[in-house]
Subunit: 321 residues, 2 copies
């Protein structure tokens, strides 16, 4: 399973000299175990740091197989506390302890379950050789809950049987690029380069002003990724994920099981595609498949009727934004 | 990995008409995850019932892959509460709940951790649709902790960083076999067959006594299996597992790392073989391999120098006692 990684080459387009942001799919199944899929877990790699989204049972095994660095993980974001989204947490943290991790780690958990989860981890893992901080967030309102030098993470309220939030990862706006040829032409000294990159005009010693637009080229586009699982079809999502590069939206069911999707507060692949289309996202990634489907092609076909740029997630997949 | 199952054919010898007792290896690695092995879990199948020994992370996935019945599981025995022996419990029980299990399940946990584990499962799994009973046992004394129509389970005190017990599974003694030819010759009526099988002599209406030994053939041999993990080399084990059919003994380290084995309260493969030899067991199965060994052949070679009937356990293996 791990060997057969489908890597849509279109995802490998790299915008200029930008460092790639890579999404690693460690698990994209749902609650019942199958021999095809593992429960939810993803790792986003950006700016030489790693961010984990959900942590289903088996995450540490998949993490090891992925050959991602254990030490570069900065934070873990848990969407809700159904087992297939968080039961891998004690094992992962124990392994970090065994490996002698020293760096602090933040674990973001919905407010109603944060102390419980902290208590469970303390009971099972005992004293840890590194600082683990459990940080509660309100899953019912959209808000920025994390911010570092590379990106911000905002919550996306979803509608599930338990309060549940998706996460929007958004790169910070980069600097303007210097037009070296123009700078030389206008005699701009190197000491000004930093200010130009931040948007200042150049003011020469004699008072001459050279507008910034003549000396720089535009910033790189800001890249963004949203994870939306688990949720019933929820049109309110559209404005929260409008225009993003990549959307992962749960697609637990095929259209024939739409009634079951509603009952269990899940979505169909077609509904995921409707959100993607209405929000005008770049690409859509489906996941959180029900154990009942051996063949996922019908889910992909149903979604592509609505939104062509749809792909099936799969364990071991790596997508460069 | 799962596909490459090594099945020593010698294990498939089936004693006459006896129903096979089968040991299923779901995981035989140790604490650190590798791409080769999963943490400890085994399922023993006997008398149409299943018994689980340890329940490391990923057990429910391995259980599903093994195609063993979820509903036939009667009891789970946890040797100690290091994560690689018990972190799969919440996920397994949640899945049973999702699948609508109704049958009661007993979970046997060392006394010092039983209430903690019960609390963790309650916190993570919530209300269950079936009865789960956490039963504490003292891991420091050998005692029968489980008994049903098929077998008994006794604890085997081990010596590890935490109090830890192995488990000895022993079939109940079966009935004598009728010698139909002899019964007919001596005119024994069918109504006596049950008493003869239990060992009675036949007393005819005229008072003639026909000794049982003339009318029956011996009982089937009682089959037995012992699981011993985790433990430092412990010669006291020998008398507790003397003469059993199959011994699983941890072999975390190779002989070159014997000092590390002592420090961490684990055994080498050679030490496992010494126990097997001194106890005169039928066969020895090694497992709980340290993540440092990519190739396990040296462990097997070192053990076979001491005890020839040694085998390496592997995920997916099924051994018929």
């Amino acid at each position: 399973m791990w060997g057969e990684v489908i890597l849509p080459t279109s995802f490998y387009v790299n915008f200029g000299a930008m460092e790639p942001i890579v999404l690693n799919i460690l698990g994209c199944g749902s609650a019942l175990p199958t021999s095809q899929h593992l429960p939810s877990c993803q790792v986003l790699s950006a700016g030489n740091k790693l961010y984990m989204i959900d942590c289903g049972e088996g995450t540490q095994l998949q993490y090891r197989r992925s050959e991602l660095s254990f030490t570069k993980l900065r934070a873990i974001f848990i969407s809700h506390i159904h087992g297939d989204h968080c039961f891998g947490l004690p094992g992962l943290l124990s392994t970090f302890a065994l490996l002698g991790r020293k760096a602090a780690l933040g674990v973001y958990v919905p407010d109603y379950a944060c102390r419980m989860m902290e208590g469970v981890v303390k009971s099972l893992c005992g004293e840890m050789p590194f600082e683990v901080t459990f940080i509660p967030f309100n899953p019912k309102v959209p808000a920025i809950i994390y911010d570092d030098a590379t990106l911000t993470v905002a919550t996306i309220p979803l509608k599930h049987r338990l309060p549940c939030a998706g996460f929007l990862f958004k790169e910070h706006e980069g600097l303007l690029h210097l037009n070296r040829w123009a700078c030389d032409k206008h005699g701009v000294p190197m000491a000004w380069y930093g200010r130009l990159k931040s948007g200042s005009d150049y003011v020469a010693d004699d008072g001459t002003v050279i507008p910034n637009a003549l000396l720089t080229t535009p910033r790189d586009p800001v890249r963004s990724y949203a994870y939306c699982s688990d949720t019933v079809y929820r049109p309110q999502l559209v404005e929260l994920v409008a225009g993003i590069d990549l959307l992962y939206h749960e697609a637990t069911f095929a259209e024939a099981d739409a009634a079951r999707a509603r009952e269990t507060f899940h979505s169909t692949a077609r509904q995921a595609a409707q959100i993607a289309k209405d929000a005008g996202v770049g690409r859509l990634l489906l996941g959180h498949y029900s154990a009942r489907y051996k063949d996922l092609q019908p889910l992909l076909d149903e979604a592509r009727e609505v939104f062509d740029e749809t792909y099936l997630s799969q364990e071991g997949m790596k997508l460069s934004l």
